[in-house]
Symmetry: C2
Amino acid sequence: MKVKVVTRILEANDRIAEENRKRFREHNVLVINLMSAPGAGKTTLLEKTIRALDGALKIGVIEGDIAGTDDAERISGTGVPVVQINTGGACHLDANMISEVLPDVPLGELDVLIIENVGNLVCPAEFKVGEDMKVMLLSVTEGHDKPLKYPLMFRESSVMILNKIDLLDRLDVDIDKIRKDALSLNPSIKIFEVSGKTGEGISAWAEWLRGQKLP
Amino acid sequence: MKVKVVTRILEANDRIAEENRKRFREHNVLVINLMSAPGAGKTTLLEKTIRALDGALKIGVIEGDIAGTDDAERISGTGVPVVQINTGGACHLDANMISEVLPDVPLGELDVLIIENVGNLVCPAEFKVGEDMKVMLLSVTEGHDKPLKYPLMFRESSVMILNKIDLLDRLDVDIDKIRKDALSLNPSIKIFEVSGKTGEGISAWAEWLRGQKLP
């Protein structure tokens, strides 16, 4: 019973995601669905990435949160256009929420739209929003068991960014196990290591993003 | 439409949760629903708590994960009875999942049953499983913005345990803001500070747990 309901919701969602995608294609905007557990550092990564790109890509951001506008205010500080979605209680963004805010996103002026999803390692991986690729951020403070415990997120993502590597010397975390398990779930996943705090690794990721072509 | 479906699921869940709760009362077992974001350290907290109590409370554990049995194996190493639930894709435990595994839990031999929920700061807060209290764990590495971004979890929890305080000297985290915002959402929330790694603060939390009475 419950499974049937979820299937129906997912089918409806995928139809709307496809409509969103057509709009993104009309405007030649590359769209990234950025996902992670709470507090992995998505917003800080975005701030640093936007500053590293320094206008080389015209970026726009949609911020997804259960509540609050802190993240949108932080992104706004970088000067790029940003729209905040508050999901109320929902644990993920869905295609319809994105569709509803698209009139407020200046697609004609953007190269890349980054959709920062609600902090959650489960639900966001199930709901397409019309993106070209999913990028996931894993803070190394979360431990090396995450790929095998949350496999869908790692299977669905084109890129895994390991964040907070500045803390590695103080953690009992086996980063090679994270890489190995993520690659076993998803052999083509692209992996970056960064520190949102020190900025280490941000330029490599930003350069890679700059080299991405529209599908 | 979607909201209606969710309401129906929640009502059905609450009925089963109430049945679970009656069974827990029949056996005089205090039941804790332990929740956190992925990688906040729930399993390590449990291992250390069980060892700190050293048999003073007879503990049993139900482990909830999307996939895998790592956590159940770790808890098993402490010598207490443990049952693993794999939710498949579901982002939280529900009352029916707990009901289904109760025949494998030796309720008659326990003082306290701890249900370690799926790592997620959103969905688990919405689904009662028959618990007497919700306890949430927040790793200070997740940042000080979490209470206002995930308010339901902080409102619903009787206890907030701040973990990984051994890393505070390396983080730009305002722990007073976490306390203040959590208390603004939930003035009666009890707060502990611990390090699962060094063991700091574990005995205070374990002693408090030992002093809890059945409702």
